[in-house]
């Protein structure tokens, strides 16, 4: 495919940085994050230079309007100044880290980057909806956040799109002998609102697309004008099932901007919380898989484990879902270490018993194998992250990226679990492996010592990038702060934003309807994280 012909084979990070700097100007290098200014005309070659490398992945792409509209000035569109386009490249080959290229776009158009790095496509759509600038060439864009009914006039982060959002390309024209099976937004009990357009010939899945705009709460819009201290509570709640990861990434971004780091003990505390989060999410995913395969006893067994893990969270950090642990500069609470040491092995043992039994149940395993297959090529092309990517054999993990966020993980490195087949079963195995790994890490971090400590985050007009590995994959946060430490632009990119785009590919791979719940469970994503 067009995306990954290995042009330059595995250039080291420094080579890549220098080549990029050759096209533009090296702006800043801080804590494993290199920022390069690229002029608009050099954006295309720069993207080529970066996208060509095997070990380099387009982690995110976002824009920043140059005006400072606060939520009070609702619906105020940006003034006519330029929009800054930022591409975040994750370098995973030799020394993991991130490279940001920032480019000022003067007019309505910029080079169609998704032709070079297809992973940029969804972001191109978002940027068009939020800032009104679109890739040149006029290829259609999908609707990602804006609701189709026109009654609602949502404020945007920048300029409104040239043509009204209603004209943002709505997905499907169904032709021939297929029809669209509408599913949602109100679906089964106890699941999030989400719309599937399931195109089927009556038997097999011909195509599938999804809308999440039912949950678009404008988080990035309403974060502006808040101090980090206020903002982080909202940031946690963009994707509650990965509250720690989102909060950590967001806090880390603020710390990077302010040039401070959390105390080592606090960082370890964060890591403990992060691994606990991974544990209970994987348990929940297991339960969901059992439900999707109609194995109710297995589901109950997994749910017992899940509930026990949640109670461990509550006993350790005082919250079943670990809300409110992360603070900018550190953590607000210390884990109850002995409670954790006492409770965790039992709870994990519960999970282990359930999963061992599941792996010995053919009726379960058969449904998982060769279902919802994704290839490593697809995963890298679409920039997938987390267990989904690791199940295809890509060893991508934000915990490997050092310093700012990764302090504890440099002391105690994480063994990355991968699988090869890329199907649901592979994802399941990756989750099981990671659960075991998480338990090990928790115990080691506890040994390292934890505390409720917080360093002051001095207000300072600056920008910073933060990241963390949520149970769904890499979470990225980027903030721009003003002098008194208020957010002027915050970018939050949970793992769900990435992995949903692989979901329809997985469903299309010659599956029948009944596999879709299984695939959804194995992805274990949230609509909340996608829609924000």
């Amino acid at each position: 495919m067009t995306a990954v012909e290995p042009r330059a084979t595995g250039r080291t990070r420094d080579q890549l940085v220098s080549s990029l700097a050759g096209l533009g100007s090296l702006h800043a290098e801080r804590r494993g994050v290199v920022t390069v200014r690229i002029p608009a005309e050099a954006l295309e070659p720069a993207t080529h230079a970066a996208a060509g490398n095997p070990g380099v992945r387009l982690a995110d792409m976002f824009a920043e309007g140059s005006q400072e509209a606060s939520p009070q000035a609702a619906g105020a569109t940006a003034d006519s100044d330029a929009t800054v386009l930022r591409l975040v490249w994750a370098h995973e080959a030799d020394e993991p880290g991130y490279i940001i290229t920032e480019t000022e776009i003067e007019d309505e158009h910029y080079p169609p980057l998704s032709d070079i790095a297809p992973a940029a496509f969804v972001e191109e759509c978002e940027i068009y909806e939020q800032f009104g600038i679109r890739p040149a060439g006029g290829k259609p864009l999908n609707r990602v956040m804006l609701p189709p009914h026109n009654g609602i006039e949502l404020p945007t982060l920048g300029h409104r799109p040239g043509e009204p959002p209603a004209e943002v390309h709505a997905p499907h024209v169904v032709g021939g002998q297929a029809f669209e099976f509408p599913f949602g937004p109100v679906r089964q009990v106890g699941v999030e609102s989400l719309y599937y357009g399931l195109v089927t010939s009556g038997e097999e899945v011909v195509d599938l697309y999804l809308f999440t705009w039912h949950k678009h709460r404008g988080v990035e819009w309403r974060l502006r004008g808040k101090t980090m201290h206020e903002a982080i509570r909202l940031a946690e709640r963009t994707e509650g099932l990965s509250a720690v990861a989102t909060g950590w990434a967001f806090a880390a971004a603020a710390e990077a901007a302010a040039g401070v780091a959390p105390p080592a003990a606090a960082a370890r505390t964060r890591a403990v919380a992060l691994e606990l989060e991974r544990l209970y999410n994987h348990a929940a995913a297991t339960a969901a898989l059992c439900q999707a395969t109609g194995l109710s006893v297995g589901q109950s067994a997994a749910e017992i484990a899940l509930e026990r893990l949640l109670r461990v969270n509550a006993a350790t950090f005082g919250h079943r879902y670990l809300f409110g642990v992360i603070e900018p500069g550190g953590v607000s609470r210390a884990p109850d270490a002995e409670a954790l040491r006492r409770e965790l092995p039992g709870a994990y043992g519960e999970l282990l018993r359930a999963t061992d039994a599941l792996l010995r149940t053919n009726s379960f395993v058969d449904r998982l194998e060769a279902c919802g297959v994704l290839t490593a090529e697809q995963a890298s092309r679409l920039g997938l992250v987390g267990p989904v990517a690791r199940a295809t054999g890509l060893a991508t993990d934000a915990r490997r990226a050092p310093v700012a966020a990764g302090g504890p993980y440099t002391e105690i490195p994480v063994n990355i679990v991968t699988a090869q087949s890329g199907d649901v079963f592979a994802r399941f195995q990756v989750m099981l492996g990671e659960a075991a790994e998480s338990v090990r890490l928790v115990m080691e971090f506890l040994g390292g010592g934890t505390a409720a400590a917080c360093n002051l985050v001095p207000p300072r007009a600056s920008t910073g990038l933060g990241w963390a590995e949520s149970p769904r994959g890499e979470v990225l946060a980027w903030v721009a702060l003003d002098e008194d430490g208020r957010v002027t632009r915050a970018r939050l990119r949970p793992g769900s934003v990435r992995n949903w785009r692989g979901f329809d590919d997985a469903c299309r791979s010659q599956n029948v309807f009944t596999d879709i719940p299984i695939i959804e469970a194995s992805f274990w994503l949230t609509a909340a994280g996608m829609a924000r």
């Binding site: 206020e230 509570r233 006893v297 149940t361």
Partner: protein
């Protein structure tokens, strides 16, 4: 399948007896704060209002207005004023009357 049946039986019963009996796990849940009027000075009240991430706390003519419905039990007020605030430990807050969740806490030195 029969294997799973046996397995399920072997695991035994874990179900809570709530609401017939109280449940032990409830003690670990985050709960909204209770205030000590004796310690609740005005500047403490203002500090709590400022750290509260939601609209749960506000102040009106000498009273701290606490909306338990809007409270996320994040515990920041407790951090801000440790001696004026303790958790209620009360999770049975469901009500048919939204207004019943909004309470007035007298502030020290401002009773009238």
């Amino acid at each position: 399948m029969p294997l799973w049946f046996i397995r399920g039986l072997r695991r035994g019963v874990v179900t809570t007896r709530y609401p017939a009996r109280p449940d032990a796990s409830a003690t670990a849940l985050p709960t909204p704060p209770a205030f000590r009027p004796g310690k609740l000075t005005r500047e403490l009240a203002d500090r709590m209002i400022s750290v509260c991430p939601g609209p749960a706390l506000s102040r009106a003519d000498g009273n701290l207005i606490f909306d338990a419905g809007a409270c996320t039990a994040c515990g920041r007020c407790a951090l801000a004023a440790p001696d004026a605030v303790t958790p209620t430990g009360e999770f049975e807050l469901a009500t048919t009357d939204r207004a019943a969740l909004v309470k007035m806490i007298p502030i020290l030195g401002e009773e009238r």
